[in-house]
């Protein structure tokens, strides 16, 4: 074997074969990693429609037949968009099975009558990932308003987010 061939084989072993072995190791060790529970996808809300209508911007939620929300998740953080309602979420977070979000009327709707003068809502819920379909159960309440009504709700996942990523 010539010197240049030896050099090539050595370089190939060090720069290609060794890293590939490293990759195998990474894939094995990564199996034990735990990522936040999945809440991404579309959810349908089941709640008392009268109480829902009493929430800021809640009328469309209570009257629509497909009232619900869509969650777009990135790790423990997510954004949430309500269907049929001008509400948007500035931030939401999942810690283990506990889901918390602050819901604000979107910019154009903050001053609309019935939207609580731009008042925010809090969503606090617990995820049941083992239910079929997965469900969220918790309360929707108006921030800084002890006299306002809070609404107990249950939400079920519409699209099987389990299709995500292949698990």
């Amino acid at each position: 074997m010539t010197h240049s061939n030896k050099n090539f084989v050595l370089a190939y072993l060090v720069l290609v074969a060794l890293p590939v072995l490293g990759l195998v190791g990474v894939l094995r060790s990564g199996r034990n990693l735990v990522a936040p529970e999945s809440v991404g996808g579309s959810w349908k809300i089941q709640a008392d429609s009268t109480k829902l209508a009493a929430l800021p911007c809640g009328v469309p939620l209570a009257t629509g037949s497909d009232a619900g929300f869509t969650i777009s998740q990135s790790g423990k953080n997510f954004t949430m968009n309500f269907t049929n309602s001008p509400m948007s979420v500035s931030s939401g977070e999942i810690q283990e099975l506990s889901v918390k979000a602050t819901i604000l009327p979107s910019a154009g709707w903050a001053k609309t009558p019935g939207c609580g003068n731009g008042r925010a809502l809090s969503l606090i819920a617990t995820l049941d990932p083992k239910a079929s379909p997965p469900s969220l159960a918790g309360t929707l309440s108006v921030n800084d308003c002890p006299t306002c009504v809070s609404v107990d709700f249950r939400a079920v996942q519409m699209d099987q987010a389990k299709a995500k990523g292949g698990r």
Binding site: A11, L15, V16, G30, G75, K76, G108
Partner: protein, 433 residues
């Protein structure tokens, strides 16, 4: 329902903004395509949606984006056919050991570094519905890709195609893209087969059979295109339509087999005849409509899915910085180390690394697939788009510092003189006559 007014308005706005920003980028010595990528981001929630939300929702109402997406996907299918057509992995053979090693290291180094980074990012930016292996492999594949078309454009604009650096870079990028797409096909296969419940061996078997039919059966038939072209110095509209039809049928086959439309069109392009004049002729016929009209729609659609607002807070920007650092270290550093090890001068090796670090449009195509199959989250998608933009944007200025055009021009002239001398000795005409 399709609203033609909205769709035509969207196309008009996208075309105008892409042309304008592309032209501005040409003035700062960046390829037009980089400007168009930036234009796409500008039209999305990261800029237009932020400063003029009502205008944004008037021009790009969420309910209308399906049609824009469909048009842009047609463009990407044809574009991938053209990418496959332009790639000639045989070029690597003529480059010897150095190029083979550089090419392989430029895949493994970013791939492995990205998978290490995946250990850190998985608990932070993914969720329990994505298996770690899919996440890590996708990160690896997306970081190891090189934008062959953008690279070719940069080399042409800098008059580097005939230089040693240029030829090695093109050969390595060709191999990188073929390998990258094979790995990505495997990842999509894993994810989709788990979703559909079809046994993976059935899909793999089908794909191998399809690839064999294409390579050993279809490739022979495709040579007729080249033969006809050489007889008539042109191809009829029917022949061009047939070529397009074959690309679409191939795309449908790979989609039906369980991977993705784009793999089929890429494969069809890859097995097309590779004679230079024929390739140039086909590219010239298809490129104007794809590059001028359809790709900007893809950039806009990608921009509409990219929300830089999701990358908020010091922690998220740190992840983004890490992604850019790892991608650059793996690709630039890996290629540079390998080529330097095999005897390339350090400055040239650094230039090669810089060229290989160009991800551009190919990265966006891969990232969109990743977001579609939900192996990456929207925030990670936005970070990776920023990485693609940064690594592509930095190529031209960094290259100018490492390998100034003056230096390369003298090398190219020397190479051309050498070719002419050898040609004269062998009694051949100069290339291109």
């Amino acid at each position: 329902m399709l609203n033609m007014f909205t769709l035509v308005l969207q196309i008009a706005v996208v075309l105008a903004v892409c042309r304008l920003v592309g032209t501005l980028f040409l003035k700062i010595h960046q390829p037009r395509v980089v400007g168009e990528m930036f234009a796409g981001i500008m039209l999305g929630p990261s800029l237009l949606g932020l400063i003029a939300p009502q205008l944004s929702s008037f021009v790009f109402p969420p309910s209308s984006l399906g049609f824009l997406n469909a048009l842009s996907q047609i463009g990407v299918i044809v574009f991938m056919f053209l990418v496959g057509l332009g790639i000639n992995p045989k070029e690597l053979k003529s480059q010897g050991h150095a190029a083979v090693l550089t090419s392989h290291v430029s895949i493994t180094a970013p791939f492995v570094l990205a998978s290490f980074l995946a250990i850190y990012l998985y608990p932070r930016l993914s969720d329990s519905s994505v298996p770690f292996s899919s996440f890590a492999l996708f990160m690896g594949a997306s970081m190891s890709i090189t934008a062959f078309p953008v690279l070719a454009r940069i080399l042409t604009e800098r008059d580097m195609l005939q230089s040693r650096l240029g030829t090695v870079a093109i050969a390595c990028a060709a191999v990188d893209d073929v390998t990258g797409w094979c790995i990505l096909a495997y990842i999509v296969l894993l994810i989709r087969s788990a979703h559909t419940g079809n046994p993976i061996w059935l899909t793999v078997g089908g794909l191998i059979a399809f690839a064999l039919i294409m390579i050993y059966g279809m490739q022979r038939l495709l040579r007729h295109f080249e033969t006809v072209y050489h007889k008539r110095a042109a191809l009829t509209d029917n022949a061009m339509a047939l070529m397009l039809l074959l690309a679409l049928v191939s795309a449908l086959c790979t989609e039906w087999l369980g991977i993705h439309l784009l793999f089929g069109s890429f494969l069809m392009g890859a097995i097309m005849p590779k004679e230079q004049k024929f390739v140039r002729y086909v590219l010239d016929r298809f490129e104007p409509i794809v590059v001028t009209l359809l790709l900007p729609l893809f950039f806009a659609f990608t921009g509409l899915r990219t929300n830089i607002g999701l990358v908020r807070g010091r922690e998220m920007w740190m992840y983004c910085g890490l992604i850019i650092l790892v991608a650059t270290t793996g690709k630039l550093g890996g290629s540079m180390l390998a080529s330097w090890w095999t005897g390339m001068p350090a400055r040239e090796a650094a230039g090669l690394g810089t060229l290989m670090n160009t991800r551009g449009l190919m990265e966006l195509v891969i990232l969109n697939i990743g977001l579609d199959i939900k192996v990456i989250s929207p925030a990670l998608f936005s970070m990776m788009v920023l990485m693609a933009l940064t690594t592509t944007f930095m190529t031209s200025p960094v290259l100018e510092v490492i390998c100034p055009q003056k230096m390369l021009r003298s090398e190219t002239e020397a190479a051309t003189r050498e070719q002419l001398t050898v040609g004269q000795q062998l009694g051949l005409n100069p290339v291109g006559d």
